[in-house]
């Protein structure tokens, strides 16, 4: 498939935003449950606002993918059958819940709704809980858009869903680590430890899908595509001289060297280097944390680019030679 840059930015930006909110919200619960030592200063509202901004940026990027962005509201209609439609509902829901969480905290009109034992559940905590549900739904919908296309065998796997979830969370927790260092508040150890664990898990899961995709063989051949059962078939005309939508939308023109370098590049930049940096950083290493966030985000952009390159569309068998 040809990489769609708007979609690359959409999925990476919202992934980081989703992960960032999960990081801060989960830390609050762990503190409330006494599983994590309380730290002075609470920047959950700031994190929620940043998460909202990242998801908004993703949403804006997604509009560049559409031929008719002014009709985008219609995309919520077919949620019964279309994962894309479900994503169109889940993304604004997650954004709204996260924004409400931030506004309640910034506005200072939080109050206790009920309490679970010793844990007090406030209005913002409830909004955040809805946000978490929406974020999990959003991860699933975003990944299922790709994983549900059974013809694109490289995408049609549960690993796609796992990858989106783990990579989004990893980039979010790395960003949370940077925020904890920058604000000198928040559970740095928890964020950094989780970022390491998630980055490691994401790299293993991505390596698993890379090795799965290397072994895939498409059941579609030129023989089944045109129904002529002869081992030797050669295309001599594809019906168009200057290319067509079929040659522009489903094929990329990058050579094998570029593709190989991109694969090595994202394995280094999205996983290995951030992992090493996260292992050596401490509460004071602002620059290193910043580099880790930047490297990981750039690496994930390349990863998502490669995700498209890797997928082989069956229609390409009809377009092997112009004339």
């Amino acid at each position: 498939m040809k990489p769609a840059f708007s979609v690359i930015f959409l999925t990476t930006l919202i992934g980081a935003g989703q992960g960032l909110f999960l990081a801060y919200y989960s830390a609050e619960w762990l503190v409330a449950l006494n599983m994590l030592a309380a730290t002075p200063g609470n920047y959950s509202a700031h994190a929620a606002l940043l998460s909202f901004i990242l998801m908004t940026a993703g949403l804006v990027a997604s509009f560049y993918h559409l031929g008719h962005p002014e009709r985008a509201w219609r995309a919520a209609a077919m949620w019964r059958t279309s994962w894309l439609s479900r994503e169109v509902i889940a993304l604004p829901s997650a954004m709204a819940a996260v924004l409400v969480f931030a506004l309640i905290r910034f506005g200072g009109f939080d109050y206790e709704v009920f309490s679970l034992g010793k844990v007090s559940v406030s209005l913002s905590t409830l909004a955040g809980f809805i946000g978490v549900l929406a974020i999990v739904a959003l991860f699933t919908c975003t990944a299922m858009i790709y994983a549900s296309l059974k013809f694109l065998r490289q995408w049609h796997s549960p690993l796609t869903v796992l990858n989106f979830f783990l990579m989004g969370c990893a980039s979010g927790f790395t960003l949370a680590t940077l925020m904890a260092v920058a604000t000198a508040a928040g559970p740095f150890g928890y964020f950094c430890g989780m970022a390491i664990a998630l980055t490691l898990a994401a790299s293993l899961s991505r390596l698993a899908s890379l090795s799965r995709n290397r072994r895939l063989r498409s059941p579609t051949t030129l023989q089944s595509a045109i129904g002529v059962h002869h081992p030797t078939i050669r295309q001599i005309a594809q019906g168009a001289m200057g290319g067509s939508f079929n040659t522009r939308a489903f094929m990329h023109s990058y050579g094998p060297t570029v593709v190989r370098m991109a694969r090595r590049g994202f394995l280094l930049s999205a996983f290995l280097l951030p992992l090493l940096l996260l292992i050596i950083v401490d509460e004071g290493s602002l620059a290193l944390c910043f580099v880790a966030v930047l490297l990981q985000f750039l690496g994930l952009l390349v990863e998502r680019w490669y995700f498209f390159i890797e997928a082989e569309h069956p229609q390409n068998v009809y377009y092997q030679m112009i004339s």
């Binding site: 013809f151 069956p314 009809y318």
Partner: protein, 243 residues
């Protein structure tokens, strides 16, 4: 239930592209249009087409055959492009099984094109909506047209009658009979999309001609002697025969 479809005979298609040009002509000026072109008279012309003819060479020289392969939307009975559409712009008509796009609802997200294994859909560069073969739905029910013209224009224009149009759920239709009797098949059956359009394979039609068929071996005029001949002076029974 009706399922209108095309049956394309690869045995008779000569690759003249009459279906391609007539499709473009009808649909660019009809309700599915415009089908815009970029650089139409330049070196690299490209544009929107609902139907194209591809050519394949099968076998190794000198034992080769040239197969011309017209390719358009197959109006699948289980179309993968329809459920993925987020707006409901892509739909399959229950009454006749034609898969259509509502241009007023389409947001141009291309997700349906990703979901079609045949590459039958394309974005129109001017209107920015997804377009595809409509099976000339604007001809099929048009009562201002003479009844013989209420067919897809590619079928009418084919000079070798390689395109058959009909209801493949009606076992008596010309299309169903062609599928049954000439070994009609579907493209990429491995994906389970059940394309409604079928293709008829290349087939050798041979008749055995024996010597006897060309020249009667029991020709009485050759085998027997001349018949009895009456004297030319005598009147014959029918007044004319004289042999």
């Amino acid at each position: 239930m009706t399922q209108l479809a095309l049956v394309i005979d690869l045995n008779t298609c000569v690759g003249c592209h009459a279906c391609v040009t007539s499709c473009k002509e009808w649909n660019t000026s009809g309700e599915a249009g415009p089908m815009v072109d970029r650089n139409p008279y330049g070196a690299e012309p490209t544009g929107t087409f609902f139907n194209r003819v591809q050519t394949f060479e099968v076998g190794e020289y000198p034992h080769t055959q040239t197969v011309h392969f017209p390719k358009s939307c197959l109006h699948c009975e289980d179309p993968p492009c329809v459920p993925v559409c987020p707006t409901g712009a892509s739909y399959k008509r229950p009454e006749d099984g034609i898969v259509l796009v509502d241009y007023d609802k389409c947001i141009g997200c291309e997700y349906c094109a990703w979901a079609c294994p045949y590459g039958a859909r394309e974005i129109d560069e001017q209107q920015k909506v997804m377009k595809k073969c409509t099976l000339c739905v604007d001809r099929l029910y048009d009562e201002t047209l003479p009844e013989r013209d209420r067919k897809p224009v590619c079928v009418l224009s084919c000079p070798t009658s390689a395109r058959i149009y009909g209801d493949i759920h009606d076992p008596e239709s010309e299309a169903s009979i062609a599928i049954n009797e000439a070994g009609g098949y579907q493209l990429m059956p491995e994906w389970g999309t059940q394309p409604a359009n079928h293709y008829l394979p290349r087939r050798k039609v041979k008749i055995a001609i024996h010597e006897e068929d060309l020249q009667r071996v029991d020709n009485p005029l050759r085998k027997e002697d001349r018949g009895p001949r009456a004297p030319s002076t005598r009147t014959t029974l029918d007044d004319s025969t004289s042999w």
